[in-house]
């Protein structure tokens, strides 16, 4: 009556496979290395590099199309919204109400060129109080910072809308992401963390994103007969600033994706460009 279980066969075969796999353990294993030199020749050199990222600190500016679109939508929203319940939110004659009123009038004029509905009036005393309240709020910070004006490539305050990445200059005046060769008994993510501190100082607070590499770069030319593999890790800078030690790292810069292209070699750029965010 019951249908035969088709999966049973599969389970059995799997079990026998595992058994077979276990059996191979008892079989004589091939010797790990025949001659030492043969192994070292085929062994690639492993390195870990770290892409230190300063994420955007301000929202991106809308494009012209977005700006126009948002303006249009704001006008629709303003024209059709439900009436605002002033008496529910403000005590009548309070400075807060006066301030809100003034702002609301200017917003209305900005949207339609004139006042389209009767709005609450404010007395002189309220206006004074509102001005004082507005002064307390203070000035807005600018989107174009001092570092942008000075074109200071070492500053972390530059290009607030964009992702910035740390590149360092080595003794042979070539620019690249900080990197280190793997040591015996070390995990790859530990090498990645080590790649930053000896060259760029300890006065920097960072966070490594996960323990998996985000990309691999294989230089076309082998170094001293060895193939070289560079694993990239992503890291965020949380506080502090890089201080190059002067020997292995001579200089550093915080650059956006397209700025990096002008600094590094073409082959290196092709290997790393897809690991960097476009924004």
């Amino acid at each position: 009556m019951l249908p035969r279980r088709p999966a049973l066969q599969a389970v059995r075969s799997l079990a026998t496979e595992v058994g077979a796999a276990n059996n191979t353990l008892h079989a004589p294993t091939p010797p790990l290395s025949t001659t030492k030199s043969a192994v070292t020749r085929s062994k690639p050199l492993l390195e870990a590099a770290v892409i230190v990222n300063r994420s955007p600190t301000i929202t991106r500016s809308p494009s012209r199309f977005e700006k126009t679109f948002f303006q249009y939508q704001s006008r629709i929203a303003r024209a059709l919204h439900n009436p605002f319940p002033y008496e529910f939110y403000f005590k009548q004659g309070s400075p807060l109400e006066a301030q809100f009123n003034i702002e609301e009038r200017s917003r209305e004029r900005q949207a339609f060129g004139r006042l389209t509905r009767t709005m609450w009036d404010t007395t002189e005393a309220n206006l004074e109080a509102a001005k004082l309240a507005k002064e307390e709020v203070g000035k807005r910070a600018t989107r174009f910072t001092e570092a942008d004006k000075r074109k200071d490539l070492r500053s972390l305050d530059r290009r607030g809308e964009r992702n910035l990445y740390l590149v360092t200059k080595s003794e042979d005046s070539s620019w690249s992401f900080p990197r280190a060769a793997i040591r015996k008994g070390e995990f790859l993510h530990q090498t990645a963390e080590r790649a930053l501190y000896p060259h760029c100082g300890v006065n920097v607070d960072t966070w490594l994103v996960g323990r998996k590499p985000i990309g691999l770069y294989k230089p076309a030319e082998p170094t001293e007969g060895h193939e070289r593999l560079v694993f990239f890790y992503k890291m965020h800078i949380l506080a502090g600033q890089v201080e190059p030690n002067g020997s292995s790292a001579v200089d550093f810069a915080w650059l956006t994706k397209e700025e990096i292209k002008g600094y590094v070699e073409r082959e290196y750029w092709r290997g790393v460009k897809d690991m960097l965010s476009d924004s």
Binding site: T68, Q73, N82, K169, K234, A253, S277
Partner: protein, 302 residues
């Protein structure tokens, strides 16, 4: 810096140059909109849908920073394609006339907690889908007018309204009704509480307010409690990417929308918050927590 000067590609400059039309001052309104009997303006066209009026800061943060990080952190490498799912046989013979239309559960136990997550790709990175907040008002059992305070508070907190902006899927603040009668506690179909579903920019606005204004000022709140590290995660809750927690009544007064006139509300209401993500399968709960932790929701291990 005396070294090489940066070369900014012309592609970036060109992108900002071209535009559809120059931005100029908005045209002046010649004729005002007609008003209905309640004094509300009547638009010229029938099916008007209001879209976004600004960028959402937290949403930008997700797409610029968080999504990449979460993709790297939650990536699971699978070297070969997955085996086909196990065939679960039925308990009874479906052809037997005696058992033909009976409930026929598959043999092998519940598979809910054992569901595998989808293979990691760049397209299914964990993402916030919606936030639901709800509260039960006990006094509503006696008189449903007691719900009014909670409705007003939820409207202020969420900014949602029924079909607001012509969006027909926006349900606004909904009234929750009792499913069945429980002696002295609820009556089937009777209103018991209110809830709101938040999506899109308003969802991110709510989360920003919660994380930046409410939670830091909430007394004796160190974070959302996590279960013990040895607790079983192969439960329906463990494999669904929903993180839930409760807020005490004191938290309501900390929302800036309510704080300005807290006295106008009859009382403070506590609420349940469900943060619903697209994570599914084993480890979904952990992936959802990683996402929310990135948004700044604090978590605390017991």
């Amino acid at each position: 810096m005396s070294a090489a000067t940066p070369k900014i590609t012309t592609a970036v400059k060109a992108a900002s140059r071209g535009s559809l039309r120059p931005i100029r001052r908005a045209p002046e309104m010649r004729k005002l909109l007609k008003r209905d009997e309640r004094g509300l303006p009547i638009p010229h066209i029938k099916h008007l849908v209001l879209r976004d009026t600004h960028h959402s800061r937290l949403q930008d943060f997700y797409y610029n920073t968080l999504q990449d990080d979460l993709m790297y952190m939650t990536y699971v490498h699978e070297s070969s394609p997955r085996p086909p799912p196990r065939a679960t046989r039925l308990a009874y013979d479906p052809e037997d006339p005696y058992t033909k239309n009976r409930h026929n559960p598959p043999v092998g136990g519940s598979q809910i907690g054992k569901k595998l997550p989808p293979p990691s790709t760049a397209h299914n990175v964990v993402q916030l889908e919606r936030i639901q907040i709800h509260t039960m008002v006990k006094e509503a059992i006696n008189s449903k007018s007691n719900l009014l305070g909670a409705i007003a508070a939820f409207r202020a907190i969420s900014g949602e309204n029924h079909q607001a902006g012509g969006v027909h899927t926006s349900e606004g603040v909904q009234i929750v009704r009792a499913v069945k009668t429980v002696g002295g506690w609820s009556r089937a179909g009777g209103p018991l509480g209110v809830k709101v579903d938040l999506k899109g920019p308003k969802m991110y606005d709510f989360l920003t307010t919660l994380v930046e204004f409410v939670l830091p000022r909430l007394r004796e709140f160190n974070g959302v409690q996590l279960p013990g590290s040895s607790s079983n995660m192969q439960t329906p809750a463990g494999v669904s990417g929903v993180v839930s927690f409760g807020l005490p009544p004191e938290a309501m007064g900390l929302f800036p929308q309510i704080e300005v006139n807290l006295d106008s509300y009859p009382k403070s209401y506590g609420m349940h918050v469900h943060l619903i993500t697209n994570a599914e399968g084993q480890g979904a709960q952990n992936r959802a927590r990683a996402l929310l932790s990135g948004f700044g929701v604090p978590f605390l291990r017991k």
